[in-house]
């Protein structure tokens, strides 16, 4: 079966984001960018299903412009078979992204769609659920375990009370959580080889999709800093301080 893996390019998780001086957004120029870590887990899971002989072709897709290709190269270097760039310079919100991915899904007709449970930039965590809704297919969010059994995906999901297992008829959308797998390191020769794999480009504007934002970001600010604390020298002093403020 074919797996479609949707990935996003985000500011690397080790970098502290900076708000642009004019407040119009977060600075991404000359900042280290990487594949969203949850999406990397999605690519890895597709690769493991391919090793098991369940998935036969892995198609990576991202939406963006210019350097957005870098994350597709990363997915190709990990082992994805081919990649699609939906070229767009627009600021896309989750609903618009879902509509674009729906168009890609309809072209590719995969049995499995894998993507991260959230992107670490806007922390929205919506695209998988929205895509499944628009496609009218089942969803397995926050997956920590995935098995394909016949025509079903058996998904163990991390939930607030522990974990839950659901069975989804294929095709289905799976969003990946941290403990699903540990993505492989990409070796330099693989990265070089990935440069030779073709990336197909689709113009987002050719898809005829309304991608106008529903949400307007009117302000970005640093969160208020906590007032500086103090160092204590011993457990006894710590207990005394905590008692004096009524914390214990």
């Amino acid at each position: 079966m074919k797996a479609l893996v949707a990935i996003k390019r985000v500011i690397d998780h080790n970098i502290r984001p900076r708000i642009k001086p004019d407040g119009s957004g977060v600075e991404t120029e000359n900042v280290k960018m990487s594949i969203n870590p949850f999406d990397e887990i999605a690519v890895e899971e597709a690769l493991r299903l391919k090793t098991q002989g369940i998935v036969t072709e892995i198609v990576a897709v991202t939406i963006g412009h210019g350097h957005a290709q870098d994350v597709l190269r990363h997915a190709l270097a990990m082992g994805a078979d081919r990649a699609i760039l939906v070229d767009s310079t627009a600021q896309l919100q989750p609903l618009a992204v879902s509509k674009i991915l729906k168009a890609v899904y309809e072209r590719e007709q995969p049995q499995l769609v894998l993507l991260g449970k959230q992107a670490i930039d806007d922390d929205a965590g919506q695209v998988g659920q929205m895509l499944a809704a628009l496609l009218d297919i089942g969803q397995g969010t926050f997956a920590s375990k995935l098995e394909i059994s016949g025509n079903e995906a058996i998904v163990t999901r991390e939930v607030d009370t522990g974990s839950e297992t659901v069975a989804l008829q294929l095709p289905a959308v799976i969003t990946t959580d941290l403990r699903l797998n540990e993505p492989r390191f990409v070796k330099l020769p693989n990265l070089m080889m990935a440069k030779k794999k073709p990336i197909e480009t689709i113009q987002a504007t050719d898809l005829g999709i309304d991608t106008a934002p529903h949400l307007k970001v009117t302000n970005l600010a640093e969160p208020p800093a906590r007032k500086p604390g103090i160092k204590v020298n011993s457990v006894a002093e710590l207990v005394e301080k905590l008692r004096s403020v009524g914390a214990i």
Binding site: L95, S98, Q129, M130, T161, G162, Q169, L178, G229, K241
Partner: protein, 309 residues
Amino acid sequence: MSILILAEHDGQQLRKAARQTISAAQAWGLPVHLLLVGDDTAAAAASAAKVAGVARVIRVDAPHLAHPLAEDVAALVVSLARDYKIVVAPHTTFAKNILPRAAALLDVAVVADVIGIKAPATYARPIYAGSVLATVENTDALQVVTVRATSFDAADDGGNAEITSLPAPAANGKSRWVSEVRNESDQPDLASAPVVVSGGRSLGEQFHQLLTPLAQKLEGAVGATRAAVDAGYAPNDWQVGQTGTIVAPGLYIAAGISGAAQHLAGMKDSKIIVAINHDPDAAIFSVADYGLVADLFEALPALTAAISK
């Protein structure tokens, strides 16, 4: 027009996050309706009807809703949504699974993880693991919102809402519930515990031995970093952080936690933060009210002993 809250319950009563959402919803100044789904919501509905600020409790009971699936509950929310101006729920795994699905079917956006409602369609929400606060205006006529429960006080009892019942849509044919594993423990609910004692991977095999007695003394819950969970020292639902549980207790004790941004995102709104770490340069000290540079394996038992005195 009214507000619909997708309210999580345990079969007997509302979860605390639902009460916190009821209190958040008062900002809109519209009647608040609760939607309770399950196989038998009678007891939970009776208890929910007593919460102050609730005008109506809507019960939707069906055998297939005993373990609600996103596909089913989203369809239900969509069928009700046209009568509402706002659909809101706490930002829990339950609602995060359902509301985006419902919103897409309604062709509207979701404003996720809201920590403040500034005007009827203007919200404050953290992005980049809380490193940036965004003010967001939602232009949709129907607002779908998830709120960070810990940013709002829990609504108390004092109401007398009417209880109505609606039939459930038929079960969807695309997904089915198989099983669940509840990480049962005696400890209080992490998200709402008044005290949280969290540990990092460096506690190793002694994770429980060092933290649990301290948490019990303080009548608190034990939390963990992602690394400690990945290493198998703590169950997944103990993870505090950007992608785990967000906590804001009165007292947060971080033991052997370096203070990665992803962890800080889940606890830096705690009232008092104590950091104990052997590394004086650990980032956790930058958010701590009280920092102690010490060997954990000595300091934690000493702290536990000192508190009992």
